[in-house]
Amino acid sequence: MYDFAYHKPSSVADAVALLGDSEAKALAGGQTFIPVLKQRLNKPSAVVDLAGLGLSGITVTATTVTIGASTTHVTVANSAEVKKAIPGLANLASWIGDVAVRYRGTIGGSLANNDPAACYPSAALALGATIKTNTREIAADDFFQGMFTTALEPGEIILSASFPIPEMSAYEKFRNPASRYAMVGVFVAKTASGVRVAVTGASQGGVFRHTAFETALSANFSASALDGIATPADGLNSDIHGSAAYRAHLVGVMAKRAVAAAA
């Protein structure tokens, strides 16, 4: 990696000030950022480590699960409260990457990065989460803006994400055999106001809502409701692990399995 200054501030205000330098970058679990640095693909003037901000922790109320940005995947996966309130979310966290990734990687880093093959964006979108930053609250529908692109302004820090508790939810993932990211991941959430289905890994544009599935499932929340609803392959990823047509097929398979698991 290139040389950079390292800061570990202990308040959000200090972190925000340090990130005021447009060349400075925030560091959370480092699972994405450190490999990028090692490959010299990024040359920050300073790295601002968020670990000292006290942003980890899970709060569950009757209606909402709020997860601090620095909370690791393994903490979410093992949380009895999350398992009870939103089992699909705990399950999603439990098979992100591998053990090392789950012990270091954080929800804030995952949402901020918005990797088109990451898992959390699908949960945030399907559950209609709200992402809280140092300046505002952003609805998931507005937050994800295409691959590796979010509504975050330069220097803006995610503090937490709040997930409304649904009636039912589940996540199913076809893992990329090499990286174990989602080649296709589908999060299904059933709430009083309807069903939301978010798909990650499949599309060149990153996470998206599958409205055809949502309509069908809102009418009849069962796997068979998805029979015959094809997912267009246009705009889906195609690589050595799977063609767009295969991914389109897998979207249906994963969605049905998620519905079956949720119900």
Partner: protein, 793 residues
């Protein structure tokens, strides 16, 4: 007190593991020499390009930089040599283009080295490498073998017109043609053997060191064969005599073949050390490993089997195109010829065989031996072809194998492709594996899976391989530029403990334990009193190193010969002490005794007498107890066996899961059953990796697509089933141990069994073969194509 059983046949724990699992192994990257500098290789990101200019001035001016060298600086040095010369069908020698340590005039693959930057720190060297101004003119590039020989293909080397390295053949063409003309049926199979990246856990590393006061060079390197590196680099590349060059290969974290070869980086750091009078260290990044460690396999073949109406094999014709990559790596040329085509009889009595092999250059990383080296390619081809013969004729896969097996009483068996098998019993391994895998109960398991909506299949391979490549005289006549003997020096110390100096090299195999067990067995001393030393040309007389599962069969046999000398000398000393005739002295259980009496001397007493020769036959016998033997085997050894794999496929996704795997191998005499089991399991893990996951994918123009673990799928623990390993052994008849080798059987025997199981699971979908890796998408596509009328899942 009863001594614990630690000799041949004991599953003693590995002596070396404490240092490995407690982080106290000593690898090249752990070493640092006084005044050491760091080298960074500037590698080409273009597959094929003309070097117009390299401006090094800005890099040279960067902080900490001591030197920058390019191909212009090393053009007068030797070419990185190829160790085996193959001859074309017409008798002319193969094309052997220059393989420069730093690219000269052109780069020929992504990863080819354009320049080396040497600086006080690695960081400074990396920074400076970015300041090199390199002007390249891109040339059209090719990555696969078919494109390489297409008319008008871009040519990599002027010395290899049409990109052909050699066009070689073996066997009886006329005999095969005649048998085909008369046959009841000829069955054809086109298949590929996928290209693999070895991915040893420890990346390659090298430190070159130079002592200007003596003129001595030392190379510390991640090698499987330090003496071979000393010879290749010293004599052929740098012109350094052996007595001025020491090569040390300390703990090495896996090789799988990829650390056999002499690599450019070794020559670069050694040569630069001499130029600068400083030690120079280089350690590969993982991305560098992907684009510079020799890859494995990469064959495209057409195989044809002629059969009679009962399914008896009459003749085999094989046509193979193999990828050498951009340059010839050390043993690249031997792998698809003498380690492949000579194995094409497999376990069968096929009376006539003809094979043609064309090796071609492409704009890819050089390809060389990788765990199994030629034999996995042969086993995959034969075993898949036998399955396809069964499929096309409707015969049973096992029946057709039994019908064509070389009979138990036919050994030694001369194949039509040069090799003579000394021993084997293919019926025994087959029957034991079928029993353990409950072959007979498979239909019920298949039905149970079907009831769950899953497709279940079972696959079998009854493979054969050859280890301990030898004898020197024969391999020399076939083009090898080295001998293939092995060397052992047994040093008995005055109090009777023993240090073994072996020319083989252990990089995970457990030689420090297995070889010590040979000493326990033969000299009757406890395991704790034996140490095995390897990996240093200054300590070990000579050696050819470790590959081709040769260490025990060849290196262990050299130890036996050296210990025979120790015992003979010990008997002479004992005869003197016991005032008896040498002929009456017998050696057993660590004691020299006068036959038929209770008069004896312990091994320790004899050792002490040898070094404190007060009462000693000094006129006839030199003091000391230290013997060396060079052992040149009479033949290869021929392990073989039966692997059975059972898979279950999820038809909705195409994901295959291996639900059971049984291996029954014939590895000859087993010294440490636990280590054999571990070796076989590891080999099978790699075989499953090749069959289901691994693929070094290039795009058509030479960019390596799977150049990191984010895209190159390694098998992981949760991809693997419980693997049941057993042996049914026949002894090697020509080495003193009877051992054959176990390091590669797993990687050789397993891929056809895995693919056989998947094809069997898909048998209702009209598929007779599937190329590796059998990815979920490939499997799903077959299922989709097989039932277009049904609704999508």
């Amino acid at each position: 007190m009863n001594a614990p059983f630690e000799g041949i046949g004991a599953s003693v724990r590995r002596k070396e593991d404490l240092r490995f699992i407690s982080g106290r192994g000593h690898y090249v990257d752990d070493m640092n020499r006084p005044g050491q500098l760091h080298a960074v290789m500037k590698r080409s990101d273009r597959p094929h390009a003309k070097i117009l200019s390299i401006d090094t001035s800005a890099a040279l001016a960067a902080p900490g930089v001591v030197a920058v060298y390019t191909g212009t600086d090393t053009a007068a040095l030797g070419s990185i040599p190829c160790g085996w010369q193959i001859h074309n069908k017409d008798g002319s020698p193969m094309a052997e283009p220059r393989h420069p340590m730093l690219a000269e005039g052109k780069v020929r693959h992504v990863g080819d080295i354009l320049a080396v930057v040497i600086a006080a720190t690695k960081q400074q060297a990396k920074d400076a490498a970015e300041l090199l101004h390199i002007d390249l003119e891109e040339l059209p590039a090719i990555a696969n073998v078919a494109d390489a020989i297409a008319p008008g293909a871009p040519v990599l080397h002027d010395a290899a017109p049409g990109n052909v390295c050699y066009d070689w053949h073996i066997g009886d063409k006329a005999g095969v043609d005649a048998a085909f003309a008369a046959a009841h049926r000829v069955i054809t199979l086109d298949l590929t053997n996928n290209r693999l990246v070895p991915n040893a856990m420890e990346p390659r590393a090298a430190i070159g060191d130079y002592d200007s006061s003596t003129g001595d060079y030392t190379l510390y390197t991640t090698s499987q064969n330090p003496h071979v590196i000393r010879l290749l680099m010293g004599a052929f590349v740098l012109g350094l005599p052996e007595h001025k060059l020491r090569v040390v290969a300390p703990d090495v974290g896996g090789g799988f073949g990829s650390k056999i070869y002499h690599y450019a980086e070794e020559a670069i750091v050694t040569w630069s050390a001499g130029k600068l009078g400083r030690a120079i260290k280089w350690t590969a990044d993982r991305s560098e490993s992907f684009m510079s460690d020799a890859h494995g396999r990469d064959h495209v073949s057409t195989a044809k089997m002629a059969i009679d109406k009962d399914g008896k094999f009459l003749a085999l014709h094989v046509d193979t195109l193999c990828n050498m990559g951009a340059y010839l790596s050390t043993f690249a040329t031997a792998v698809p010829t003498y380690l492949y085509a000579t194995l094409l009889a497999g376990t069968y009595t096929t009376p006539v065989i003809y094979a043609e092999v064309k090796a071609v250059f492409t704009n890819t990383v050089p390809v060389d031996a990788y765990r199994g080296a030629g034999r996995p390619e042969a086993a995959f081809l034969i075993e898949r072809l036998v399955d396809v013969v069964a499929y096309d004729t409707g015969m049973d896969r096992v029946d057709i194998r039994r019908k064509n097996f070389i009979p138990r009483d036919a050994f030694p068996y001369q194949t039509p492709v040069a090799l003579q098998y000394d021993s084997g019993d293919y019926f025994a391994t087959l029957e034991a594996a079928q029993k353990t895998a409950d072959w007979a109960g498979f239909p019920a398991r298949r039905a149970a899976s079907a009831a769950q909506g899953k497709l279940r299949g079972i696959g079998i391979s009854t493979y054969l391989e050859a280890c301990g490549i030898a004898p020197s005289k024969v391999v020399g006549s076939l083009g090898a530029r080295a001998g293939l003997y092995e060397v052992a020096n047994i040093r008995v110390h005055p109090t009777g403990s023993v240090t073994v100096f072996t020319g083989t090299h252990s990089h995970g195999q457990g030689h420090e334990t297995t070889m010590a067990q040979l000493v326990v067995d033969q000299l009757g001393i406890p395991l704790a009193n034996v140490d095995v030393v390897h990996g240093d040309t200054a300590k070990i007389p000579f050696g050819m190193g470790t590959y081709g599962s040769r260490s025990l069969a060849v290196g262990g046999s050299a130890m036996v010969k050296a210990m025979d000398k120790i015992i003979l000398k010990g008997r002479k000393i004992a005869a003197h002490l016991l005032e008896a005739d040498v002929g009456d002295i017998e050696f057993k259980d660590g004691k020299f005794s006068v036959a038929g009496t209770d008069r004896s001397k312990s091994f320790g007493e004899i050792a002490l007498t040898a070094y404190v020769p007060h009462n000693y036959p000094i006129e006839e016998l030199e003091p000391g107890l230290d013997e060396t033997a060079f052992y040149d085997p009479k033949n290869f050894t021929f392990p073989g066996g039966c692997h059975i794999c059972e898979v279950e496929i999820d038809p909705a996704t195409g994901i295959p899961t291996i639900v059971n795997f049984v291996a029954v191998d014939d590895v000859g005499r087993v010294v440490n059953p636990m280590i054999v089991e571990g070796q076989v399991q590891g080999g099978i893990a790699q075989g499953i990796g090749q069959a289901l996951y691994e693929h070094a994918a290039y795009d058509a123009h030479g960019q390596l697509i799977s150049g990191s673990f984010m895209d190159y799928t390694m098998p992981r623990a949760d991809n693997l089933p419980n693997i049941t390993v057993a042996t049914e052994n026949t002894m090697c008849t020509h080495n003193p141990l009877g051992s054959k080798g176990c390091g590669e059987v797993g990687a050789i025997g397993s891929p056809p069994a895995v693919i056989g199981a998947i094809v069997d699971a898909l048998k209702d979908y009209g598929v007779r073969h599937l190329n590796m890796p059998a990815s979920p998408e490939k499997i799903w596509s077959i299922i989709q194509a097989g039932r277009p009328a049904m609704a999508a899942e």
